[in-house]
Symmetry: C2
Subunit: 165 residues, 2 copies
């Protein structure tokens, strides 16, 4: 299956929130996201990587306007779930390469990451699926990042109308 | 936008590979995935979370048959990219809730995580988008996980025909 690249989506309306040092046992993620859902906090991209010494971080992006509410929910929860802390970074942007068939084409993510590297853009988070490669970068880097990814995939600036992540 | 849940996809053909302790500076992810792409290693779900003390891990899933090749490429690369190590876990499964409009409905991920918690399934990795919530679990837990998620969303077993991640 050849990959079909259709455009680059970007979103600067979100912040990044990280819950540090959560115990890696069943029920912890459920507790965290149930509390957030009950308070109607819109959670977008969730990322958790493997644990080390039985602990791991969970990060997610959310509307910048929801960060105070999310912190007010999560900080009291830390004792209950035995987490180490909550970090909020409001100065981020999400940049996604949108397409299809990316799973069978290993060079797509490499090409995107190389374009960002050449533009000296640091990648803060990565999340992918077969139809999308998303990275979180510093908000100040969003234009550079979008232009660099456009250029390497030969996409015109108009390729992005209405792309959703 | 109401979320539309269409099914649960699962995949037990993949292993999980983690590169530990990578420096968080531009170019590192590009180098890692370019080497893998040049060797034609099919990389599926990539996850990177925020760094701590300037270092972070990158994990990805890949066909179980490619793990030896990937390790042979990455271990010599560790010196160059100043990484701390490579871990491979062949005993994993990917379980994805597939649908649409999930971003605007915070309860979906919470409901899925709660179903896994109640079934005593530990979540090893998380990656989400607006159309999909994917988790990596132990391979032995895949049937329990799929059944638990089916049950909580009221999906019949036949909802999964041909679902892709
Ligand atoms: C860290 C968190 O995901 C935990 N492993 C859980 O299953 O809830
Ligand atoms: C860790 C890795 O993603 C690094 N931040 C990079 O941009 O390549």
């Amino acid at each position: 299956e050849d990959a079909i690249i259709s455009g680059v989506a970007h979103d600067t309306s979100e912040a990044k929130l990280t819950i540090l040092g959560l115990p890696d046992r069943p029920g912890v993620a459920a507790r965290v996201f149930t509390e957030l859902a009950d308070a109607n906090v819109n959670v977008d991209m969730i990322v958790q990587n493997v644990s080390a010494d039985g602990r791991t971080d969970i990060s997610f992006t959310l509307p910048r306007g929801d960060t105070a509410k999310a912190q007010a929910i999560l900080e009291p929860l830390l004792d209950d779930v035995d987490g180490a802390g909550v970090l909020v970074d409001p100065d981020v942007a999400k940049v996604s390469l949108v397409g299809a068939g990316m799973k069978t084409n290993p060079g797509i993510a490499a090409k995107m990451f190389s374009a960002l590297s050449a533009a000296d853009v640091n990648i803060e988070m990565i999340s992918t699926s077969t139809i999308r490669v998303s990275v979180v970068v510093a908000k100040d880097d969003v234009e550079t990042a979008v232009q660099a990814v456009h250029a390497v995939f030969g996409l015109g600036d108009d390729a992005d109308e209405g792309r959703s992540h």
